[in-house]
Structure formats: structure tokens, C-alpha cells
Symmetry: C2
Subunit: 243 residues, 2 copies
């Protein structure tokens, strides 16, 4: 079962203050790249796994999706999502992605933003997603990059010469990582890229695109503080298809 840290009051308060929580998709620098991996939404049946405040669900509805099911474990997030949504196209449901069952061949697009690294049993979830997609349906997701989730001390280190690096250790030791992010004791699951790809493959999903995301030159010009993100990728974006 996934930890429900988003219903922790202090975590929720901290998360609510992040740029991506305040500004939504426009505050998420990887969003333009992820959006480009999605098919046109018009007429699509969409499921949003880890919908949070519902930013993507509302974007999909606005872009013409026929229906959107937004799923999250956090009551706090679903409450705010419902408050900010005024279309019947979207249905919000509370589920643990580690126990989620989805109806067969019911969706054209499955989407998940920065959620799967909270899921303990990725193989199970990928299989559930696969069977819920129609033939040709797409699964597009982002996760924290394995280089980002691996370290026991996930923070940049500056050496005596001023050089900055990201101290990777235990990369090939997969499993639960307990880190401090906004609050102490946030539980995530570290997996290698090889494991993400074999979970897709074993579930019957065919990789289309894998992007180790970093800011482009324009983004760095606008946000010089993002340049350090080029030292190690924070996000991995993946597009896959049910054949």
C-alpha cells in the first residue's frame, strides 16, 4: 500500500506552496515535453492516475476529452480538485494505486504525473493499466528519475573547488527509500530504468519515447537557478502504447 503523505497536514501545506501547485501545469517545467507525448484529447476517454489537484484532468476536459477519471489517494487533494472543477466530464475517485482495478478496454489515454514512484507494486499497476486501455491506447507518465531516487543522501554536494555533483549510491539496490521532502519520512520506491522498461514490456505495453528531462536553453535563460538541473535529471518522461 502506498503511503498517504499528501493527507499529512504539514506535507500538504508545503506541497500546496510549490510553484506547480500554485500555477498548475504552467508551473511544471517538464509539462510542455510531456504534453507533446500525448495524443490529441478530443473525444478521448482519459484516466489520470494520481490526479492531485486535478490540473491535468481539467486540461484534458478543456482540450475536448469525452470523459476523464481522476484518481488519487489523498482526500485533501481530491477535495480541492472537486472545488476547482465545474464540468461533469471529470469524475474524481479515491483509490490506492497499489490496489486499483480498472475496467477492461475502457480508456484511450492513461496519464500519470510524478506518482508511480510512490507505488510499491509497479508490475501490478502496469498490468492494470494495460488491460484498461483499448488497442492503440497510450500510457504517458512522468516519474522522479532513478538517478534522483537512488541516493541515500539525495542532495547536491559542492566540493572544495566549488564543483557541484549529485552523489549516486545504491542505484542497483531497488526498493523503498525514506527521504525528507517538505516533511521527514516520505516513502518512495526506487527502481532502475531497466525495471521501468521491463514492467512496461511484461505488461504488454510498447515503449514509444523515453525522455530524461532537463530544462532547455530558453528555460535556463528565464530561470538561471534551473541550470543545475542539467547536472543530473530530476524527471523521466515515458510514452508507451498498447498494440
Amino acid at each position: 500500500m502506498a503511503q498517504n503523505i499528501y493527507d499529512d497536514g504539514a506535507f500538504f501545506l508545503g506541497y500546496s506552496g510549490l510553484l506547480r501547485s500554485v500555477k498548475g501545469l504552467d508551473g511544471a517545467p517538464e509539462w510542455p515535453t510531456l504534453r507533446a507525448m500525448l495524443p490529441p484529447m478530443r473525444g478521448k476517454r482519459v484516466v489520470d492516475l494520481g490526479c492531485g489537484f486535478g490540473w491535468f484532468s481539467r486540461w484534458a476536459a478543456d482540450a475536448g476529452a469525452e470523459s476523464v477519471v481522476g484518481i488519487d489517494l489523498s482526500e485533501n487533494m481530491l477535495r480541492r480538485a472537486a472545488d476547482e472543477t465545474d464540468t461533469a466530464v471529470i469524475t474524481y475517485l479515491r483509490h490506492d494505486l497499489d490496489r486499483l482495478e480498472l475496467p477492461a478496454e475502457s480508456f484511450d489515454v492513461a496519464y500519470s504525473s510524478l506518482t508511480l514512484h510512490y507505488v510499491a507494486d509497479l508490475h501490478r499497476l502496469m498490468t492494470a493499466v494495460h488491460q484498461s486501455l483499448v488497442g492503440g491506447g497510450m500510457f504517458v507518465f512522468s516519474v522522479e528519475h532513478p538517478i534522483y531516487t537512488a541516493p541515500s543522501n539525495p542532495t547536491f554536494v559542492t566540493d572544495s573547488s566549488g564543483a557541484v555533483s549529485w552523489p549516486v549510491d545504491q542505484y542497483l539496490m531497488e526498493g523503498r527509500r525514506t527521504t525528507d521532502w517538505l516533511v521527514p519520512g516520505v516513502e518512495k520506491y526506487h527502481r532502475t530504468i531497466g525495471t521501468y522498461l521491463s514492467c512496461l514490456h511484461d505488461a504488454g505495453l510498447v515503449l514509444q519515447t523515453l525522455c530524461e528531462w532537463g530544462p532547455d536553453a530558453l528555460q535556463v535563460a528565464e530561470h538561471p537557478e534551473w541550470a543545475v538541473e542539467l547536472e543530473r535529471p530530476q524527471f523521466m518522461l515515458v510514452g508507451a502504447r498498447r498494440e
Copy 2:
């Protein structure tokens, strides 16, 4: 054009002393995993890109390949390969993989061990490999893992508490890296995993397997000094197919 460091006398002497040079495939800990990604060799037409001393070419011939073409840039290596080969099944050729052209639909298996990170134009080479394979043909290769090739200082660091880590920097800044390995000034090319996969995809090759290799428990028991390899992967093994 790829640097021909293997014809540097000091480099060649150092390389010749490595376990994998003395013992061949049995001295390469990743070989059993790579071998498992290969189809049966019997009757196959095989090309070995960066054949070095010819260990794999001879293994393929012994395993029943119909023909094996071993290609390398180093005269030193090809000379020793020829000296140690006594079968007409194998042909050794000297070529720069950055300029290589291969006959169309002529091979069932293309193989490359720890060579592609010396190649400047991977997109070009992948395209050449693709068109040289028959439909259903396999391309199986290993490279130094991008986590291994990225850093400006590619060496383990031990902090004041004794913890070991691998200092990743400039991961998203692809291109030539000049490092000291056996001799100063060895030129390799760093690419992200995303780029390896998009080169395959753009060339028309379909990913089958991606393994971020580390020693298994038995190998660590036999070689306790390999345990540190679990902190970060040194090799990436890839299997792809021409559809």
C-alpha cells in the same frame, strides 16, 4: 572519427593486462547476461563491431555461426585476434565505426561489446546496422552506462563518514569526454539512455531488453570487491530487433 587509443603502446599494454583481456569472455562479469540476450548462433551470419582480440567472434564461430565478420580500428588488436584464430569462418576487417558501411540485409546478428561509447556518430552507425540486418535480426550491445560516462571526475568518492558515492554531474550535457583510463586523454562520448533509445528507434530497431548491469549475489560472494559496483552501474546491456 573515433580515437584509435588501442594502438597507443602504453594503452594497449595496460588493456592487455585486464582480466577480460587475459581470460576473454570468462573474465567479463557481464558476459553471462549479455549472452542470454543473444539468439542461438548456429547457422547465423554475425558481425562483431569492435571485435578487439576476437574473443566473441571465436565464441560465435565455436557456437556454430555460419560466418563472423570481426571489425575493429586497432591494428594491434586485429593482429592478435588473427594470431589466435584458426577458423576460416571468421574474417577480420579494419574499419572506423564512424565511417563503416555494411552490406544490406546480410547479417542475422550484430554484436558490440563496450565499443559504442567511442563512436562519435551513433545515429549514423545504428542506421548502418539496421540496414545490414535481415528482418528479425538482432542487435545486442553493451556500453559504459551513462551514469559512468557522465561525470567530469568519474571515480568513487568517500565522505568523512566513510560512505561511498559516485559524483554525477553534466549528465544532460552530452558529448565528448576526455578521461584518464590506463593512459591520459582517452576520448569517449557520453549520451543519455534517452538518446541511446531514440537512436535505436529512429534507425528502425525495436528495443527488446535493457539491463543496467551489476554483479549478482553469487558474483559478489566470489568477488567481494565487486560489491561497490551496486552503488552505480558501470555497464548497460541492450537487445534490439529489426522488425
